[in-house]
Amino acid sequence: MARKKETHGSSTHALAARAAEWKTILRKMIVIRRFEEATEREFRRGKIGGYLHVYTGQEAVATGILATYRQGDVVYAGYRDHAQTLLLGSDPNGIMAELFGKGNGISHGKGGSMHLFDAAHGFYGGYGIVGGHLTLAAGSAYALRYKETESIAVCFFGDGAMNIGSFHEALNMAGLWGRSGMCPALFVIENNGYAMGTAVDRHSALTDLGARFDAYAIPNEKVDGQDVFAVHALAERAVATIRETGRPFCIEAQTYRFSGHGAADILQPYRSKNEVEEQKQRDPIRLMITRLTEEKIVTTEEVEAMEAEAQQIAQRAVEYAEQSPQPDPAELFTDIV
């Protein structure tokens, strides 16, 4: 199967033509960054419990992909799910309240960080069992065609998730169903180089991860996941094909997480400080700002305004969450069967 690496998805000309869109995308990436920083802070303050996995460093992936979102599409993610939820338009206050375990959280405080959920905005959940949600996405894609819509399912997952059985079962079924146009699904590998502390070449026999999709006859392409223009261009092309054909597609986005695996991953014995610093040179937000400034699509003032706005959104969300009431004890027994 042909695979090529998309390095810069848009010519200068094309960039200018969609200036407003790029600004929106930049704004969203900045909001994610500030929001995630806030969650880490609140976790350390003991306001957020459980496990916390942030998206810092990977923003360009979900943002570039979900810029193609259309009402009716459904989106799945693992436990690293804050960015997707924000991008789909969930109320940041409701998300933060959920992380605080409050009654007006988007799931009444019953899910928390690993299980964000906002069906009204197309987000069908964050899941805590690695790889378990891939089958769900394949089934939802089937349902969308069964109901004769043009919607698609988008499924985010990590490099580590590619070694578990349900990955295999989901993808083979997706490939099979796709043959008759019954699986409009976009699978997105967020390849950040590590499954917790295990580097890709220590967990996968074939380290060319996208190529594994060849085993299911599913077209696949790699992209620089720190380059939001490239991610977005590839996503637009892939999504158009998926909507048209009802067949699945896979994008391997090569990215990097700047924080630890989860909030408890302090020591990070599996990678060097140097490596992290080097990777931070390719901060997707910084790269985008540089490009957009060079192209005179945004000004420094505009970026500053975005930063301030994002800061405010995150801050407001924390205040909202802090002031929100705990769930009603009766919630314990609802939503079971």
Binding site: T135, Y146, A170, V337
Partner: protein, 327 residues
């Protein structure tokens, strides 16, 4: 009413519900072209087409997971497990996903799906193919676990399962597929979950059972009657939710109870039922609740050993006599 086999009753329920609601579809291994190893789905592929009757690869986790993804979007998928022994490879999808998503989403989605197929000991199917899973699934909140014993219940409860909003583990029994019984023709005759039923009245002892063990219990009760012992026999019908009120009521009358299950005793269904009876009507009991269960061994292949491993009528009779201190 028509006289139908348990197999045909299930088949009818599928056909009627698929006719009624285009959102109902069924998937499983060899259910289409092959028409099902137990022929439950015979004719369905031809009638409803390949988009509604989906032959899947051998991938039980994939089947259940995709069904969850369908159910959350409003379809009503039915997953056929060729036998429930194979559902172990889908345990995570059933127990950690289907049973919990509604809860952790704060009630944002329903989970209208059914996982159905046979379980239980057959004839010389050995250790990996002879198990019963009602206690296994019954432990997990978020599931409904149905164990119909009659063709009428098989039909009526399967309809409830398909029409409902919950993930239903629908445990059939291959040894019952050929059993006949009167079944309502009314396509809207559904049987609710969580309603146990007294199927034989009696004053001396209460026998509690479900699925194929009910047949055994009724046969034992008939024999006991010849000796003047009148057993009240109760069919639990669903394991989760578990309706023990009729059992408590019965024990208040008989003061003795025997619980019958096919599977291993430790941490099996009968333990829960016995414990609940004791908890609730302790002062009414004239004897400890007796349990009749299979032997605590993996199922052997040899027929003579297999026969020693599963409960028989005589075991129920003996347990009743123990409960009556007549042994």
């Amino acid at each position: 009413m028509s006289e139908l086999t348990y197999r045909d009753a299930i088949h009818r329920a599928l056909v009627e519900e698929m006719d009624r609601d285009p959102n109902v579809l069924i998937m499983g291994e060899d259910i289409g072209v092959y028409e099902g190893t137990f022929r439950i789905t015979a004719g369905l592929l031809k009638k409803y087409g390949a988009n509604r009757v989906i032959d899947t690869p051998i991938a039980e986790a994939g089947m259940v997971g995709t069904a969850i993804g369908m159910a959350m979007l409003g379809l009503r998928p039915i997953v056929e497990m060729m036998t429930f022994n194979f559902a172990l490879v889908a345990a995570d999808q059933i127990l950690n996903h289907a049973a919990k998503i509604r809860y952790f989403s704060g009630g944002q989605v329903d989970m209208p799906m059914v996982i159905r197929g046979p379980q239980g000991a057959g004839v010389q199917l050995s250790a990996q193919h002879s198990q019963s899973f009602e206690a296994f699934y019954g432990h997990f909140p978020g599931l409904i676990v149905a164990t119909p014993a009659t063709p009428a219940d098989a039909k009526g409860m399967l309809k409830s399962a398909i029409r409902g909003k919950d993930p239903v583990i629908f445990l059939e029994n291959a040894a019952l597929y050929g059993m006949k019984g009167e079944v309502p023709d009314d396509p809207d005759a559904v049987e609710p979950f969580g309603v146990s039923r007294v199927v034989r009245e009696g004053a001396h002892v209460t026998i509690v059972s479900y699925s194929r063990m009910l047949v055994l219990s009724l046969a034992a009760a008939a024999k006991l009657a010849e000796e003047g012992i009148e057993a009240e026999v109760i069919d639990l019908r669903t394991i989760r939710p578990l309706d023990l009120d009729p059992v408590y009521q019965s024990v208040r009358k008989t003061h003795r109870a025997v619980v019958v299950q096919e599977q291993w005793k430790p941490f099996g269904a009968a333990g829960e039922i016995a414990a609940s009876i004791t908890e609730t009507v302790f002062d009414e009991l004239d004897a400890p609740v007796e349990r009749v269960t299979g032997e605590d061994v993996p199922m052997p292949y040899a027929r003579n050993l297999e026969l020693l491993a599963v409960p028989h009528e005589e075991h129920v009779i003996a347990a009743v006599k123990r409960a009556l201190y007549r042994d």
